[in-house]
């Protein structure tokens, strides 16, 4: 134990003299665990805000005709729902997981740049406030879609500039976070933790961090050009001055497609930790999992224009981007097969984390198959900008990223809080979310096939029933997440519940289970000595 805990941590409250109490602990936080908590709370708050916007959309679409919002506000809702969920909820939540778990998993004392870590987090808060406040600016929030396509962005009010500013801040935060993660993983692993012995979550985040550094500046470029087009008389994307609106789309999606993998690779990492723990086996094909993750990341840079099949690119362009996109199915398939092989001949139990993980594999694969459908350019001509696309990316982002995060939460939160969650409540949360998720998004496949365009405030009568079903499902899904917070998260934060053992899951492996629950404020202050598998501490 001496390697695990510093001499102060061994006495329960002693660490407080170097961890300031009260608000200072959070505002001046440099501890990776505190910053991880801040990230997770912030992203959950943004999830609730983005969810409210989504419910506004679904309330309007419950019936044909405009009953709840006018079309301007409707477009603001769809736009801000997308921006807030992508940049405010999913991305920071994974950074929160990274902050909490990476140092614990690799045996490091903290993140490499503790003060920069603090700065990355506290940059997010003003950005989040600006995004929400944009609704109260003259002309309302931006309404050009989360992709901010030119030249529609040129028609937006001052809130567009505010949103661009917020996205710049968020981008800076992401880049700093990524640098921190890369340096931590590459330089601060405990002796004996070679790269190929690292837990999969660390691997997926290492690759994700490189993706972030590569593409966030591209987004920054695109929105900066939008800004100068709006105010400084440039014409990068403004056709009235000889600019090219399609160029915006190329630049945006050169960021946007790797961004999609930024939001899913850490999810793959979490699932790759949870499935072996509850199958009580090693992860099948660890090496191929690492290679598959890297291949997905590399391929993500050469598929961006599959978002643009209807812009009218030449036949060779369509063929290239179709083939490249379909290739991604191969490494993604390898991951699914490896997970199932890990389950095969295991000794499985189905506590809540495992339920979410199996649910993830099942529902995410459906999103994967619709992705394959969309990759086919001749079919995409029909699917592009319809509800089919909406169904697809919610299957991979909600059932993918979000469900994986729930798996990760139930798996690791006992380590964070020191108490077990309530198993019954966890199961209610899972089944309630799983069913309402499918009620919400499955009918959208049919709407898309029938040609209902996305971002429509009102629609032909024939689409009414499926929209009504989707709206009911959406409200149920939203309530499920409120239930999660009130019935699962809050009690754990207050320390109510059964005390968590150091390793609550008998099949789990890894250094995070070598420290007590809750994890002491400081861990691994001196590098631990690892066994040959780098999963246990010796001596």
């Amino acid at each position: 134990m001496s390697a695990v805990l510093d001499h102060h941590g061994a006495h329960a409250h002693d660490h407080e003299h170097h961890a300031p109490a009260g608000w200072r602990r959070w505002v001046f936080a440099t501890n990776h665990k505190d910053i991880g908590t801040l990230y997770l709370l912030f992203s959950f708050a943004m999830l609730m805000v983005g969810g409210l916007l989504a419910l506004g959309i679904r309330a309007e679409l419950f019936q044909p005709g405009l009953q709840v919002v006018n079309p301007e506000l409707f477009n603001q809702l769809t736009t801000m729902h997308g921006i807030i969920m992508v940049f405010g909820a999913i991305m920071p939540a994974f950074v929160g997981f990274a902050n909490w778990m990476l140092p614990l998993q690799i045996g490091a004392s903290d993140m490499a740049f503790a003060r920069m870590n603090n700065f990355s987090f506290w940059l997010m808060v003003p950005a989040g406030i600006i995004l929400v406040a944009s609704f109260f600016m003259p002309g309302g929030a931006p309404a050009a879609g989360w992709t901010l396509y030119a030249p529609l962005t040129l028609q937006m009010g001052p809130s567009m500039d505010a949103a661009i500013f917020a996205m710049h801040i968020l981008g800076a935060s992401s880049i700093m976070g990524s640098i921190n993660i890369i340096v931590t993983i590459l330089n601060m692993r405990a002796p004996g933790m070679t790269l190929m012995k690292m837990p999969m979550f660390a691997w997926t985040w290492l690759i994700t961090a490189y993706l972030l550094i590569a593409v966030m500046p591209v987004l920054a470029g695109a929105i900066t050009m939008t800004l100068t087009d709006r105010h400084l008389g440039t014409s990068f994307f403004n056709p009235a001055g000889g600019g090219d609106p399609v160029m915006y789309q190329h630049i945006f999606w050169f960021f946007g497609h790797p961004e999609v993998y930024i939001m899913i690779l850490p999810a793959f990492g979490i699932i790759s930790q949870v499935v072996p723990a509850f199958a009580r086996k090693k992860l099948f094909g660890y090496t191929s999992m690492v290679y598959a993750t890297a291949s997905i990341a590399i391929l993500s840079f050469i598929v961006w224009a599959h978002h643009m099949f209807t812009t009218g690119m030449p036949v060779t362009g369509q063929l290239f981007f179709m083939y490249a996109t379909m290739l991604i199915a191969v490494p993604t398939g390898v991951k699914i097969f490896n997970w199932i092989a890990t389950m095969w001949k295991g000794s499985m139990t189905f506590e809540t984390p495992m339920l979410w993980a199996v649910g993830f594999i099942f529902v995410f694969t459906m999103g994967g198959f619709t992705g394959l459908m969309l990759s086919m350019a001749p079919l995409d001509i029909n699917f592009q900008d319809t509800y089919y696309v909406v169904a697809h990316f919610h299957y991979v982002l909600v059932a993918g990223s979000l469900f994986a995060m729930f798996a990760g939460y139930y798996y690791w939160a006992p380590k964070w809080t020191g108490v077990m969650y309530d198993e019954t409540r966890g199961k209610i949360h899972f089944w309630w979310s799983m069913i309402s998720f499918n009620v919400t998004f499955f009918p959208m496949h049919f709407l898309g096939l029938a040609g209902m365009p996305r971002r429509y405030a009102d629609y032909p009568m024939q689409f009414a029933d499926f929209n009504a079903i989707a709206s009911v499902g959406a409200f149920a899904f939203g309530l499920a997440q409120v239930y999660f917070f009130l019935a699962v998260v809050l009690p754990m934060m207050r320390g109510q519940g059964e005390k968590a053992p150091q390793k609550p899951w008998d099949g789990a492996e890894g250094l995070e289970w070598e420290v007590p629950s809750p994890a002491p404020h400081h861990t691994f202050e001196t590098p631990p000595k690892l066994d040959p598998t780098a999963t246990r501490i010796v001596g």
Binding site: P151, L152, I381, L449, M461, D465
Partner: protein, 403 residues
Amino acid sequence: MTQSDQTESRSAVAGLARGARSAAAAAAMGGLWLATAVQARVNDLPGGPAVNQLNFHPPATRIAEEQHWLHWFMLAICATIFVVVFGIMFYSIAKHRRSVGHKAQELPEPIWVELGWTIVPLLIVIGMALPATKVIVAQKDTSNSDLTVKVVGMQWKWGYEYLKGEGEGIQFLSTLDPQHRVMSDSGKPEAVDDYLLKVDNPLVVPVGKKIRVITTANDVIHAWMVPAFGVKQDAIPGFVRDTWFRAEKTGDFYGQCAELCGKEHAYMPIHVKVVTQEEYTRWVNEKKKAMAALADDPSKEWTLAELKQRGEQIYAANCAACHQANGKGAGSIKPLDGSAIVTDADHGKMIQILLNGAGNGAMPAWKQLSDVELAAVMTYARNSWSNSAGDAVQPREVVAARQ
């Protein structure tokens, strides 16, 4: 696959489609308690969406048929893989659990396993890409068309211009029936089958002819989509793109704008009327005569009453969506009623705004309207509601301002 095999498999999938449709319709019954009495009265719209439609529109072109087939082909492969893979997973979940006493066994990891499940999916994907390639090449081939139509996306209507072939020179705007827009706002739209799909002037084309559609836009990006034709093409301002279709049956076909283009995005439908060759020739002749009769002489001196009457229709079709029928605007939309610019004795400011737009495009430019139309709508605005400028804006003033 031989042709007959293909036909057979197509009819098989069509049967499957019917089966799936009735099964899903039964499932949808569960959701029907949600449906209001209004929606229960809605019927399928031939050429447009069907009630609770589960698949693509019935194809009206060769390309759409190919896409339809490709979709079933993909669905069959994906469904098979899905059933096999998750069959294995759920079998494992049932058998390899601790509650039934299963002990964990580490599996050997021979290299052929990983290679196998990399190479087999790769081959499947290649098998999928081959038929898709054929369809892409066909749908991108816009050569040798019989008729070329230019489609212009505008906030928020479509402009059609017959560029080449029979009917050359015909041009008109196509706008959603304003009644439908009012119904939408009311929150309680009537159960009409073509709700939000009814336009004043449909695009008319002959059956069996290759129609090349050239798209562009005036303001922001729009997308021209007709699902039954398997056609969707972005209309991009400052750029020209093209696509094509050859309708194989007559009838009405509907689509909607598919690229977010601002607040009235949901209200710029597309209606294509496919008619026989004789009907088409007749339509062209009538349209040309009507256009000749309507050709306004902008140099003529118009009376206030004439312009105001004409302006009322133009206002309803183009302006009322934002500025409202009562001229009061809404939210960020400026009111016209009582506006100093509208009633100013100097017509120049208003003419400039209409020709060039204002507020960074928040008010779009309307230069695509004719001189007489612009003069009429301005005269209407200056002399309606509480505005009483008492004079007319003459078309020649617009002509002069355009120079």
